[in-house]
Symmetry: C2
Subunit: 329 residues, 2 copies
């Protein structure tokens, strides 16, 4: 498959039945007797959102390196997607975002309070799906992941407009906020399929590195994307004071320009932000950021290189290469 024709849905053909079973599970959440009136409409809105389903796909693909019934991987894939949805809802609430994937956010439609509580409900529901796998290691890892996700978000909030961050601070933050769940997604798929230790380690590391790359590319898109392709406003990170890789690299090149970031907090922002984004784009900072992301992708490819040559291995490799395309999207 050439890079030009890569599309994310092409990567899902070998797991399409399992993904469909996961969608069914998601949609069934709105179909219980507990969900009536506006609450049902809210759960419907969430579970029919057009997500990329990237994380559950990673769980399902990772479960294919050992022969097993797909029941537990499907439970896990559902949990992983629900947890992702829960974090998106709370993130949008914290960020005051009005759009997500081009649709109005829960916060926007039902208000902050409903968003907080439905996020809690999805966190809890994701955990009950994981509990149904009855695998104590996977259950522990999952609760650890929820903890890491919220720590990542807390660190982001409490380090807003703080320009004296190190690269390690940034890496820890994006591991917690994003890569932790990718790591859990692939690891749990492998464990629940009964894979051997070498395979579990390879897939866990692949997930971790893909997750790191994914977040860095997302951070770059905040400078390069347009609101249409992104489904949310551009420059959002700067508005929130979130210091990401491009800012850290810019701080090396031009400490003076980054010092201004502090001012965003206090004075009229929009024109200053546009000016800062332009200075980033005019520099080599975004190319350097891509290099960092691509190094993680290359590591992910190396992680799975020793896995048996089967179609799901190719899918995982294609997925890694697909991420590289995001630059040209």
């Amino acid at each position: 498959m050439s890079n030009n024709t890569l599309s994310i849905t092409n990567l899902y053909t070998h797991i399409s039945d399992d993904l469909l079973a996961m969608e069914e599970k998601l949609r069934s959440l709105a179909d219980t007797s507990l969900m009536t009136g506006p609450l049902r409409a809210l759960v419907d809105h969430i579970t029919t959102s057009e997500g990329k389903r990237l994380r559950p796909a990673l769980t399902l693909l990772s479960s294919r390196f050992s022969k097993c019934d797909s029941h537990k991987p499907i439970l896990m894939a559902t949990a992983v997607e629900l947890l992702h949805m829960a974090t998106l809802i709370h993130d949008d609430t914290v960020d005051n975002s009005t759009l997500r994937r081009g649709k109005a956010t829960v916060d926007n439609l039902w208000g902050k309070n409903a968003a907080v509580l439905i996020g809690d409900y999805l966190f809890a529901t994701s955990a009950t799906f994981v509990c149904d796998t009855e695998n104590i290691h996977v259950i522990k890892r999952f609760s650890q992941t929820i903890s890491e996700l919220s720590l990542g978000e807390l660190a982001e909030l409490f380090s807003a407009f703080e320009i004296n961050q190190t690269m390690t601070d940034y890496e820890n933050r994006i591991y917690n906020k994003t890569a932790s769940l990718f790591y859990t997604a692939t690891q749990s798929g492998a464990i629940l399929s009964g894979a051997d230790t070498t395979t579990i380690t390879a897939l866990s590391n692949y997930g971790l590195n893909i997750g790191m790359a994914f977040q860095i590319l997302d951070d770059i898109l905040d400078y390069e994307g347009t609101a249409e392709e992104f489904g949310k406003p551009v420059g959002n990170d700067l508005l929130q004071g979130t210091v990401t890789l491009p800012v850290l690299l810019m701080a090396k090149h031009s400490p003076q320009s980054v010092e201004k970031l502090k001012l965003f907090e206090e004075v009229g922002r929009t024109d200053r932000i546009a000016e800062f984004i332009k200075s980033i784009k005019d520099s080599s900072v975004l190319d350097e950021s891509y290099t960092v992301a691509w190094n993680y992708i290359d590591k992910a490819l190396a992680d799975i290189s020793q896995l048996p040559a089967q179609r799901e291995k190719q899918d995982l490799a294609d997925l890694a290469n697909y991420l590289k395309q995001r630059k040209f999207k």
Copy 2:
């Protein structure tokens, strides 16, 4: 012990060492390398709050009907209190409360965003403590409880100012919102101590009934208490449009007065609310509400009547009777 001298701390003397160990675990959350600067101050603020520690006490007392090492019950007690703290923080955020237990709320001091995220972190951390018990039944029940808690809160939000609720709607709601965690608190203590099935059932039912009584008494206090003894404003439920037992009973006596509740949503509230509270106080509604609560307390006492006569049984009975005192507080 006569009713006049009952104080909640007297009920904790036989489990004071275990409660102290729990407090240590709570406080250690602020002492990790992850917690720096304002985040550490936030976690410190939460974990040193002067809570009644009622739920963890129930777990610890329930673990004393079978000989066991107290390690797992202490883990569980910590988890139960952390989960309770997490729900309080999110509830205060949803309710825009500024005071809790007489102290400023997290929302008030650090803002809504920090409150949402630290609540998530405590949810997750509570789950990791439960996972450390490695008891799959307890872990499943705990995640079910988080789900029920958030469903209870969602039901409350989505049924605000809705006066056509049934008593069953109310009972389901207070089970989810409050009694579910009491049930889990006693049940998990019994299970983790290795108690037999009869003991587990007795203590589970005791917890459930105490929880129902506790919430009803709390709902009554919203009409009877003062801000000082309550640690939060009086009439708060009415301000939020939350329909509780006194309103449901008032609807039977005087449908007309309750119809006015709908108006609270639209027009200047304070004087109308004061008027409505007065009409509730002038009726027999609060006495009837106490009767409902006390029936649950009597059921709880019956639940544990067959347990062996040991000091922790007396403590649980005293605790039930202590709740009755809240009227005269």
